[in-house]
Amino acid sequence: MADYTSLDIVQRSASTDQPPTVRSKTEVAKLIDVSRCIGCKACQVACQEWNDIRDTVGENTGVYDNPHDLSAKTWTLMRFTEYEQTGGELEFLIRKDGCMHCTDPGCLKACPSPGAIVQYANGIVDFVEENCIGCGYCIKGCPFNIPRISQEDRKAYKCTLCSDRVAVGQAPACAKACPTGAIMFGTKEAMIEQADHRVVDLKSRGFDHAGLYNPLGVGGTHVMYVLHHADKPEIYANLPNNPHISPLVNFWKGGFKIVGLASLAFAAIGGFLHYITAGPDEVPKSEEQEAAHDAEGYTK
């Protein structure tokens, strides 16, 4: 009875409407087993091929990472880290970066444009480019620094978890391609079970801190990692240790956004929000804490 291909929308940016709840839902997840990854970048190719995107041909900057960062035309990429353990043993840590499809998506909360970001019943967080206004708040709202605005059409892009494939019962292109099964796809439940087996195997091979990365700060994710060093996610090219949505976004999401929209003073509010979210560096710590305090008070 569970339909994980469901595209019923459960959350929609800048909207108050209630989604249908009658149909049962099953969440899907992609499990990225870093310990099985050989960094071949087949996932990068499969993603570009399936989604008909081709980034520019860049240059070598002295590392294997190419392209060097996510972009409107690079929705996933391998990040390589040469990590030396205290004993001197070298590890080549390779992490596939891309949208984590958070259960509590910061991008969606931050988005001021109605219906530009949606979350389906199966857990996929999708951008609806037609509704995107290119403001970039999704970037600020994302604790993983994933969405990118296209210079061509000024719209935000990121991994869709191949919602078009999942909708017809297929795995995302990257998961299908992955030669070593480092990317698995299935129900979230099955992926957690798979991760458990892998963690046992890794522990038997001496990785005492092997574990699953499914951070609760964002309500868990629909893209999870098996890490050999789950106690130190940051060594995998700065995977956040305890990701959470900026308090500012929660403040905005908590109701202020609705007021703003209704008043049609949208542009002005937008400007205000741009000011408060355009880079944490610009916001003094004290102000941020104050806002967080306010936000907390507001939502209570």
């Binding site: 050989i38 071949c40 970048k41 041909v57 002295g62 590392v63 080549f92 030669p179 070593t180």
Partner: protein, 811 residues
Amino acid sequence: MTNHWADIKHADVIVVMGGNSAEAHPCGFKWVIEAKVKNNAKLVVIDPRFTRTASVADIYCPIRPGTDIAFLNAVTKYLLDHDKLQHEYVNAYTNCGFIVKEGFGFQDGLFTGYDEEKRDYDKATWEYEIGPDGYAVVDPTLQHPRCVMQLLKQHVAQYTPELVERICGSPKEKFLQICELIATTSVPDRTMSSLYALGWTHHSKGSQNIRAMTIVQMLLGNIGMLGGGMNALRGHSNIQGLTDLGLMSNLLPGYMTLPQEREVTLADYMSTKRFKPLRPGQTSYWQNYGKFFVSFQKAFYGKAATKENDWAYDYLPKLDVLAYDVLRAFEMAQDGKISGYVIQGFNPLMSFPNRAKMTEAFSKMKFIVVMDPLQTETARFWQDHGEYNAVDPKAIQTEVFELPTTCFAEDEGSLSNSSRWLQWHWAAQEAPAEARSDIDIMASLHLRIKALYEKEGGAFPDPILNVNWPYEIEDAPRPDELAREINGYTLADIKDASGAVIPAGKQVDGFAQLTDDGTTACGCWVYSGCFTEKGNQMARRDNTDPGDRGIAPNWAWAWPSNRRILYNRASCDPQGKPWAERKKLMEWNGSRWVGFDVPDYGPTVAPDKNVGPFIMNPEGVARLFVRGLMRDGPFPAHYEPFESPQANLTAPKIRGNPASRIFKRDLAQLGEPKDYPYAATSYRLTEHFHFWTKHARVNAILQPEFFVEISEQLAAEKGVSRGDWVRVWSPRGSIKAKAVVTKRIKPLMCDGKAVHVVGIPHHFGFTGSTKPGFGPNSLTPVVGDANIETPEFKAWLVNLERTTPPAVPVA
């Protein structure tokens, strides 16, 4: 591969040495991961660089390029010293007890019979002692001082862990850890799979690198076993097929050989082919050579090949040298002795060693013809591309043709993979613009040349005029017509082994039905069975896998005889029982060999007949000592690369492999460590395939620009930061590249001295979507393996400095 891709999942230990399978064969490598996850296998990677294969290894050990034999002979010594052999297997299935002729020896790095002038051996003593009964003499107690086992022990005695450390730079404790792990597979129910590729072949002693591991695998009883074997991971999609079909200077299809000048008549030729058994009752399958040869000549020359004219033996060219391999060919071309080259799907300007020599050679030719679906550098060797191809077109008088061909997406036919599977494929679109298939182009050329000979006459036109051309559309033979001819068919009514008549004009079932009286035709005997009266066996798509052995016997078709694991008789003990239930592949059921695979053996030959499992060998057993069959020795010995940072510690006077051929000009261009202190090695990157994917935009995005890899220590010494431009040079050329500074390459401590390794990837050039760059062949020496002339691309010397970016190429 003796085994096949999915079989790797059964391995308990996997050693990747002389290859980088995760990067070069990711989808085959999945079976390594499967073995780790499902079979609790341990993965060992031994490589000068910490590769992406190493990133998922249980043990990684560094090694200096070109020192694999020292390492592997030391593993052999470890197994012998610690008595970690599968004794019953070794005693029954190898030549360990065979007595070698008096006078055989090894001293100062040389085997008996060396001729320094000729760089060759007189191999008279590299043979078994033959008894009065005409058979090789064997001492089953293995005590005779000249038995193979004793000679092997003696040969590897000097290869201690300490010597490994001094030669290879591999830490002793890592080496011993690996030996212990490898030794665990000496028990009957554990196997090790050896995965290798060009990392072993691209050396002046490439064949012996492989031999060294083969000896280890035989001592452990891992050949013919599920999850075992020597697994050559071939580079290209059909290079197995082209080799099987004999597209080499000295081969006929199916590993038969082209005649040498001394083989004046067919009788002379045949006298050295039908190997007489060296032990009583052995199969020695090459005794059937005549059937394969005559059937081939009938397929090729049809009615013109008759018993009276020795099956048109004189239509075949005879060689005056071992082979006109490419190193020899371009040496001749440099002297203006080659008029032209017809190049099909190949980019020799970037692929053969010493690019400057290649450019000079091509410039001296009258014409070249390049048939390719992509715009190659070779077809543009005469174009000025600034620093990337600095030539003056006006000074080059070579006429060049570039003929557009179809690619896989537009053609139909079969490819033979590393597992020896022949898989049929179909076209999905029409050829772009005016591109034509290689078949049509070759057929058209043949017909036009034939027409010229018919009109004008000329040098010995007979084979051209009489070649068998039974194709419905003469200038466009169909793939299925050719496949049928390769399989073979009857020309007259014949009787099969059971006495049943097979009428004329039928496809044969396999090579067992071939005859030597001209009643059958067969293009390539090892492929016989691929297209029978039952239809195209290569197009089969039933992936059912009985017993979860990974064999899927009804998927496509494997040569020989749809056999998936070679020497599989050795998976059972001499009595015909599997060595272990979990490694069960087949067994003797009292009247037949039955199991998951097609037996590599007479299907009804009972175990008590004592027929050895290695039926192609006249001994019936595998060879730890390979007699005179290899040019550079019956046992592998450590030789340094021709350019090495270290003298040969086992024989200081010997440079390189003493039996390797090297031409004078190339010898004069070898560098010395005082001028070129760094050990260079070349390799593939997972993002690219050869020189092809730089033409595919998406792959160009993944790895857009040529680079070299160096350690942090060398970078610090040279003042190089990550992403800087560096110049790398050898006596043969100079290139510029971005520097990837990495912890994955470390200086190796060899005999007390730090050796820096410079890694140079293959893949970049001056055509395609990637940024312009160079190939390692601008720097590599022209010297090949002593047996098959594979160039020494994996170990040579360079120097390196920080530099400025190359000049922008001329548009």
